[in-house]
């Protein structure tokens, strides 16, 4: 085991994939300079400007070039600097990439990875702080990963690059610089397999991305009161590992779903619906959801802090699921 960050684990996974396969290339704004956080630092030096391509601020063209390149045999890894800017690339992602294999009757494959990062907490204002993963999960043909740890950031990205489908990897900016212990030789994490982050008997908390460490912190707080929660990270939203989630709910009989995206229409609604169908007889309480209010992300620091769901909201939702007073 060694210590690293989510960001460095991401960088190493890209470099490893590029060393292993000459068809892998990186496209995006400022990627040859390492990007704003450094996720691609050093790649241009090692692999050259042909394979680490700086692009203009042309998200739609970048995504479309990646689709064409993927259809013609390359394995592009595109960086869209903020998930908020994926809006500009949605035609290419939704109408082209997601449907290429299907509409061609299986003749084409589109093995591209679109890396981006979302989430609030850095006073970015409403256009640099969103959590838009639910949109992407609504498009058949796309896979969607949301790593919450350094090991998963590396392992999910490795699998995404090997996958023959378009995969969107939504990283989280507030997780980038946490130091974590990771295996010395990181292995790919299969897409579609959840991780039980912490075992527990009293309630299941399915948490995404930044809400995973928040749920773990809530678990510590609740454990002091004698409440043991099981924290499950689905890791990929498409495909979704319902089996692991349902098995956990069958043991704990209570479910809380937690994400930073607005609660309304969020991925939590889909997970809640699938679990109530699979586990109707196992549930002892209504499914509780944790998500942001249905407003844009506010800029002013105290307002943003109040807006963001975290440990306290997860703990409160667990108490509600257990019928305990807040």
């Amino acid at each position: 085991m060694s210590e690293t960050t989510y960001l460095e684990a991401t960088r190493r996974a890209i470099a490893a994939a590029m060393r292993a396969d000459p068809r892998v290339l990186v496209l995006g704004e400022d990627v040859a300079e390492g990007g704003p956080w450094g996720a691609t630092a050093g790649l241009a030096e090692e692999f050259g400007a042909e394979r680490v391509r700086n692009t203009p601020i042309s998200e739609a063209a970048i995504a479309g070039i990646a689709v064409g390149a993927a259809q013609s045999g390359l394995r592009p890894v595109v960086e869209i600097m903020f998930v908020d800017f994926v809006t500009l690339a949605l035609d290419q992602l939704v109408n082209q990439a997601a449907k290429a294999h299907f509409m061609s009757g299986g003749q084409l494959t589109c093995p591209l990875v679109l890396r981006t990062q979302g989430g609030a907490g850095q006073r970015g204002g409403a256009q640099h702080s969103q959590s838009l993963e639910a949109w992407l999960t609504h498009v058949p043909g796309l896979k969607v990963a949301m790593p919450s740890s350094a090991a998963d950031a590396s392992g999910l990205l490795a699998s995404a690059i090997l996958d023959d489908n378009p995969v969107v990897v939504v990283e989280n900016k507030t997780l980038y610089f946490r130091r974590e212990r990771v295996p010395d030789a990181p292995s790919p994490v299969p897409l579609g397999r959840a991780r039980v982050v912490r075992p527990g008997r009293d309630a299941t908390v399915v948490a995404l991305s930044r809400l995973v460490p928040e749920a773990s912190a809530a678990a510590e707080e609740l454990a002091a009161e004698g409440i043991e929660i099981e924290v499950v990270d689905p890791r990929t939203l498409v495909p979704l590992d319902l089996e692991t989630i349902a098995a956990s709910v069958a043991r704990t009989h209570r479910l809380v779903v937690a994400h930073e995206a607005v609660e309304h229409g969020g991925v939590g609604a889909e997970i809640a619906a699938q679990v109530q169908h699979a586990c109707f007889d196992d549930l002892d309480a209504p499914v509780e959801r944790v998500g942001a209010p249905f407003t844009p992300v506010p800029f002013s620091p105290p307002l943003e802090d109040a807006y963001l769901p975290g440990r306290a909201e997860v703990a409160a939702a667990v108490r509600a699921a257990l019928g305990l007073a807040a």
Binding site: L25, E50, R51, R53, T55, P56, S58, A60, A61, I62, A63, G64, I65, A66, V67, G68, A69, A70, Q71, S72, G73, L74, P76, D91, Q92, N95, Q96, A100, H101, F102, M103, S104, G105, G106, Q107, L108, T109, C110, P111, P140, G141, K143, D164, N165
Partner: protein, 313 residues
């Protein structure tokens, strides 16, 4: 029209007749509700598809748009498979999952056709990038109408194609109408080739109803692209004889006078230049399209399980 060697000229004529007869039959089948969905015919625009695709190889990538039948046939797709696709049959190019606006024929290099105007342009850049990085002299070609030029993705793509000197050829079929609206109501720039002037990309506007002019201009750009000299834009001024889609009442324009169309029709023009009658080519095409229709009708609808089977690779 410049002189054209007879053998080659006859081949161009044969190709144009094949598209003309195919498209007219598709129009009839659309009225009979035997082909499905939104059908956009390329009657009148045959010279562009034929002049361009005839110069290409199977390892060159072609991206088409919503008006795709002519491009597919000119690139070598089987008429039976195209027709079966339009009928939603398992034996279609895309096993019935694509339809008229989404023809793909990987074997012949047709890597996509899109119903979202302009959405196909950057894909061609991506295929061109793959060819360039792979050390091949293959090129990518994308067809789009003048309506696509007013979209942002066009400018993003022209900029990147030129900046990266990609072997991509942008072929604009300027038929003067973006759906129902004349070009003059959408932009102050009359010529698409003028829109791209500041980028320094090789560019030319040709009479798109003159198949030889299209072929000659395209072949020059193709040679340059294969030699690593980068992209080009070819604007072909043409005429869409039918509506935007089958069933379009065309209240927005006057029909061409018959004598005017006799003068413009790319097929009649080539026949005049070659001093040949078209009868035998038309008959040959009719026979081919009838045979294609028999094959297409014999193909079953795909099994319902195909939908789930092909959602992911």
């Amino acid at each position: 029209m410049p002189p054209v060697q007879t053998e080659e000229g006859l081949e161009l004529l044969r190709s144009m007749w094949r598209i003309r007869v195919f498209e007219e039959r598709v129009g009839a089948l659309a009225r009979a509700n035997e082909v499905h969905g939104l059908i956009h015919l390329s009657v009148g625009q045959e010279a562009v598809a034929v002049g361009v695709c005839g110069a290409l190889r199977d390892d060159d990538a072609v991206y088409s748009n919503h008006r795709a039948h002519g491009h597919a046939l000119a690139k070598g797709a089987s008429p039976a498979k195209v027709l079966a696709e339009l009928m939603g049959r398992e034996g279609g190019l895309c096993r019935g999952l694509g339809g008229s606006m989404h023809l793909v024929d990987v074997e012949h290099g047709l890597l996509g056709a899109t119903g979202v105007v302009g959405g196909n342009i950057p894909l061609a850049l991506g295929s061109a990038l793959a060819a360039k990085l792979g050390g091949s002299d293959a090129v990518a070609v994308v067809f789009f109408g003048d309506g696509a030029v007013q979209g942002g993705i066009f400018v993003e793509s022209v900029n990147l194609a030129t900046l990266w000197r990609l072997p991509v050829l942008l072929v604009c079929e300027n038929n003067g109408f973006a759906e129902f609206t004349p070009r003059s109501a959408h932009t102050t720039v009359e010529r698409v080739s003028d829109v791209v002037a500041p980028y320094g990309i090789a560019r030319e506007t040709v009479d798109g109803n003159d198949v030889v002019a299209v072929r000659d201009a395209f072949t020059r750009f193709l040679g340059a692209a294969r030699a690593g000299e980068g992209p080009a834009l070819l604007e072909c001024l043409t005429h869409r004889l039918r509506g935007h889609y089958e069933g379009d009442p065309q209240r927005y324009r006057e029909a061409l006078a018959e004598e005017e169309w006799q003068r413009l029709d790319p097929i009649l023009r080539l026949q005049r230049a070659l001093a040949v009658e078209g009868g035998e080519f038309e008959a040959e095409a009719r026979e081919e399209v009838e045979a294609a229709e028999r094959l297409a009708r014999a193909s079953p609808f795909p099994p319902a399980s195909l939908t789930a089977e092909l959602a992911y690779a």
